[in-house]
């Protein structure tokens, strides 16, 4: 077995092997890409129309116009031809009646022109054309091939079919040629999310969920209510097609165990990640669980934000900590061996912390203890010499479970008979 000298040797191997590594692509991706690309040729034109406001831009687009001619649309600059005939809406657009998607803030003017009629296209408001990202991309010479970063706004647009799409003008891909199929924006959505399902022909029809009619139109906006498999079918003009959506969910419960004020919270199922919050304050990230000291009494909320397969869920658990501690002090010690008050006793129950120090009147430390069971017997702790009758001061620090730390000074009278 060959050994690596150092990490960079391993990395060089990884780079050379993984760089050209190939894995057969899943079979159904092409149909989704294909339908999306042909379906979107209209929106490319749309974005170009907004670009025509400047005459100089037209020159830049001429190169591309060749491509557009191929899809049966000819564009001219508004400055060169009169009059302007606007065809504001396309028939296709009207088909998307049932549910419309989130329309973008600035609906672009969409004008589709029949091939022969050399009418004019567009006059678009330059201030409206926020889609200028694409414009820069079309500018020849500006694009660095190694730096192919695609603008965000257009990326999203590709995945979600827009209500203002123009009909596919391409002759080669008329409706009849496209096989009717369904295309979901996400086949494995998380519970609670909304996905968009379109049909490759962009035709209107009836949408059904597990056989029940839920909407009409060409696009379905589907809210993933519950986890599991859902059958979505679409009755088009000619036939019925189905698709299956698996709605993912993360579910778990918080399991609590307690040892005094030390709580342990774990999750009933395994998750990739869990962020833990106590009273909305983040305390840890641990997919297995957490241990947490919770000392103050009252109702507290433990929250776990869990992630599995990129789905999120928030679990909460309320715990109620009762303050059940108690303390009793005395103010006398009679170290005479009669079995009563021979030691200085503090009765304390359910506490997290206890500390007692006893001083004489001259403020000399006589005794100290961190346990209520180690009690002052009336002698100086360090030497064992009996303390004389008189007054002593006990300084107590203690914390009862569920309560704050407290301090108390108690005057003690020592009486030897």
């Amino acid at each position: 077995m060959k050994k690596f000298k150092d990490i960079s040797e391993l990395e060089n191997l990884l780079k050379s092997e993984l760089n050209q590594h190939s894995v057969p692509a899943p079979p159904d991706v092409w149909s989704a890409v294909s339908s999306s690309v042909t379906g979107n040729s209209g929106s490319i034109i749309t974005q170009f129309t907004s670009y025509f406001s400047s005459f100089s831009n037209v020159l830049k687009v001429v190169l591309f116009a060749g491509g557009i001619t191929a899809v049966g649309v000819t564009l001219y600059n508004s400055n060169t031809e009169k009059p302007t005939t606007k065809i504001p809406k396309t028939t296709q657009e009207d088909e998307t009646t049932a549910i419309q998607l989130d329309n973008e803030a600035n609906p672009l003017e969409v004008i589709s022109v029949p091939e022969q009629s050399q009418t004019n296209t567009s006059k678009s408001n330059p201030t409206n054309s926020s889609k200028s990202d694409l414009v820069t991309k079309t500018n020849p010479g500006n694009e660095q091939p190694g730096n192919a970063k695609v603008p965000n706004s257009t990326m999203g647009a590709n995945q979600e079919p827009k209500a203002n799409e123009t009909p596919t003008a391409a002759k080669s891909t008329s409706k009849a040629d496209i096989e009717l199929a369904l295309f979901a924006s996400n086949n494995n959505p998380c519970k609670g999310s909304t996905i968009t399902i379109t049909n490759t022909r962009k035709e209107a029809g009836t949408w059904m969920e597990n056989g029940k009619v839920i909407a009409k139109g060409s696009i379905l906006n589907y809210v993933c209510k519950s986890a599991g498999l859902v059958n979505i079918s679409f009755q088009g003009s000619e036939r019925l097609v189905n698709t299956q959506i698996r709605i993912l969910a993360t579910s778990s419960t918080i399991i609590e165990s307690r040892n005094g004020s030390e709580f342990t919270f774990s999750l009933s199922d395994k998750h990739q990640r869990a962020d833990w919050y106590l009273d909305n304050k983040k305390i840890a990230t641990n997919s297995n669980g957490i241990s947490q000291k919770i000392e103050l009494a009252g109702k507290r909320i433990i929250k776990a934000q869990i992630t599995t397969n990129s789905c999120n869920d928030v679990l909460t658990k309320e715990i109620d900590i009762k303050a059940n501690g108690s303390i009793e002090f005395y103010n006398i010690i009679t170290p005479n061996g009669d079995g009563k008050n021979d030691n200085y006793i503090v009765n304390i129950e359910h506490y997290d912390f206890f500390f007692i120090k006893i001083f004489d009147r001259d403020n000399n430390l006589i005794f100290e203890s961190q346990s209520p069971d180690l009690q002052w017997d009336g002698n100086v702790q360090s030497s064992g010499i009996a303390c004389p009758n008189g007054e002593y001061i006990a300084k107590l620090s203690y914390k009862l479970t569920g309560e704050e730390l407290k301090q108390k000074n108690i005057k003690i009278t020592l009486i030897r008979d």
């Binding site: 077995m1 050994k3 690596f4 000298k5 150092d6 990490i7 391993l10 990395e11 191997l13 990884l14 780079k15 092997e17 993984l18 050209q20 590594h21 190939s22 894995v23 057969p24 692509a25 899943p26 991706v29 092409w30 989704a32 890409v33 294909s34 999306s36 690309v37 042909t38 490319i44 591309f64 060749g66 491509g67 191929a70 899809v71 991309k137 079309t138 020849p140 010479g141 660095q144 091939p145 190694g146 730096n147 192919a148 970063k149 695609v150 257009t154 990326m155 590709n158 995945q159 391409a170 080669s172 891909t173 086949n187 494995n188 990739q272 990230t285 297995n288 992630t307 397969n309 990129s310």
Partner: protein
């Protein structure tokens, strides 16, 4: 790539720009396997990788006319797919939480014997926690600089370096027996 291959590719790209569906399919079939492997390296599971592959191709086809024919077409495509993957990660996770996740012990899988073939390398990379993996992929395999990574992921350069350091350490732990 020799010049006739290159010529073929250029005419294929041109046909795709014109909207030739057959050409698009050909281009897809030619490049999908390598691009899918990229998506698999970046995404957490096959479903997500599939989504990234789909997004990437849609982007590639809608922006094909911006390719200037001056550099490698595959290189141009690769950037698109890395970006598509990052975009999807960002969208699904809201943010890159590069700092918080640390690999747990049970994820450790020491490979002491056998061959370190490409499938094993893939699974090693895929096993890295998301934050490390993104940086490791970008820096080690796809040749991004820390500066580029910091810009793409909106993190600082030093975070990028830290993540890479952690990823390297993790790799070394997993491949303990493979070092001299």
């Amino acid at each position: 790539m020799n010049s006739s291959d290159n010529k073929d590719e250029i005419s294929l790209i041109e046909a795709c720009i014109k909207g030739d569906n057959k050409a698009q399919r050909k281009l897809y079939e030619k490049h999908a396997p390598v691009m899918y492997a990229i998506c698999l390296r970046y995404m957490t599971n096959e479903d997500e990788a599939k989504d990234a592959l789909q997004d990437g191709f849609i982007k590639a086809f809608t922006h094909l006319h911006t390719f200037r024919f001056t550099g490698s077409f595959q290189g141009w495509l690769k950037r698109i797919f890395v970006n598509a993957s990052l975009e999807l990660i960002r969208k699904r996770r809201q943010h890159f939480d590069v700092d918080e996740i640390t690999p747990t012990e049970d994820q450790a899988d020491f490979i002491e014997t056998g061959t370190l073939d490409v499938d094993r390398m893939m699974s090693l990379v895929q096993k890295l926690p998301q934050g490390y993996r993104t940086v490791f992929n970008m820096y080690v395999v796809d040749g991004y600089s820390h500066k580029e990574i910091s810009e793409e992921l909106n993190i600082s350069e030093s975070t990028s370096k830290t993540q890479l350091f952690k990823a390297r350490k993790q790799m070394q732990t997993w491949l303990k027996g493979w070092f001299e």
